[in-house]
């Protein structure tokens, strides 16, 4: 099962990639929303679209909220589970993200266990799928 990490910080992509790999995901990454759309187009051509995208909010070029709206408008990404992972913690921001199509919301800093718990709630368990 593939996951896509979208964050402008390489450090954060490393942290999230490590957590997802430990959960059994094959991880791709992108530095902003536009780059993520490009990666998704490539993966679609390879018939290897991810099941999950972890999306930062504040990024240059295309921010996470715009990416989520764009992803939700594309039928080929209808099975993509979207988890916002961000420092934005105001209630109104969380509501905006969920209304735009995010399935889950995680506030930085997070622990590996917190991410694992969210994945379990979403029913995303690569180990179980491959077993």
């Amino acid at each position: 099962m593939r996951a896509l990490v979208i964050d402008d910080s390489r450090a954060m992509r490393t942290i999230l990639g490590r957590i997802l790999a430990a959960q059994g995901f094959t991880v791709s990454d992108a530095g902003n929303g536009q780059e993520a759309l490009d990666v998704l187009a490539t993966l679609q051509a390879e018939d290897d679209l991810p099941a999950l995208a972890l999306v930062d909010w504040n990024m240059p070029v295309m921010d996470g909220l715009t990416f989520i709206k764009e992803a939700r408008s594309r039928s080929e990404l209808s099975n993509l589970t979207l988890m916002m992972v961000t420092t934005e913690s105001e209630h109104a921001q969380i509501v905006r993200a969920l209304a735009a199509g995010a399935h889950e919301y995680v506030i930085k800093p997070f622990t590996a266990d917190a991410i694992a718990d969210k994945l379990a709630l979403l029913g995303l368990n690569p180990t179980a799928v491959s077993a």
């Binding site: 910080s9 450090a11 504040n58 240059p60 420092t87 105001e90 930085k108 800093p109």
Partner: protein
């Protein structure tokens, strides 16, 4: 809510969570102003509350952060690696600081620069600061309010 609700203990709690989540060893509380930062990372808060969150440390402190977050030996880190990791550090601290200040507001992308950062804008003031020690290096966290801030 007023900015008086943000104190050094809040900043230390935010930093403690961050260090525990990503950097392993718990930092120790220290005394602000002990050293002049060699590297500073900043994010701006713009909206109902306006100001700047600054984290300053030594070059080695910033490189240690980069080494742990990116899982790269210090000797192999590029300046870009260090800026990325240290910038993410202030991004997370700034986002959490913003959450306890009056909103709505937005956070800028982080900026990393050499030396200390002092806000010289007329009317700007430090509203909270804290310092911690990690791996023998001092990290100073300062929250500045802008004159534009409502209710400051």
């Amino acid at each position: 809510m007023t900015i008086a609700l943000l104190g050094s203990e809040d900043i230390l709690a935010i930093a403690g969570d961050l260090w525990a989540s990503y950097l392993g060893d718990e930092p120790l509380p220290s005394v602000a102003g002990l050293v002049v930062p060699e590297v500073s990372a900043t994010v701006s808060v713009v909206g109902e509350w306006n100001g700047l969150v600054v984290v300053g440390t030594s070059v080695r402190g910033a490189r240690l952060v980069g080494s742990v977050l990116l899982e790269i030996d210090e000797a192999d880190l590029s300046d870009g690696d260090v800026n990325d990791a240290f910038g993410e550090l202030v991004n997370i601290i700034g986002g959490n600081v913003k959450s306890v200040l009056p909103g709505p507001s937005s956070l800028s992308l982080p900026l990393v620069s050499a030396g200390a950062v002092t806000v010289s804008e007329r009317g700007a003031a430090i509203v909270a600061e804290a310092a911690l020690e990690w791996q023998g290096e001092q990290f100073e966290i300062t929250v500045w309010s802008s004159i534009e801030t409502k209710g400051a």
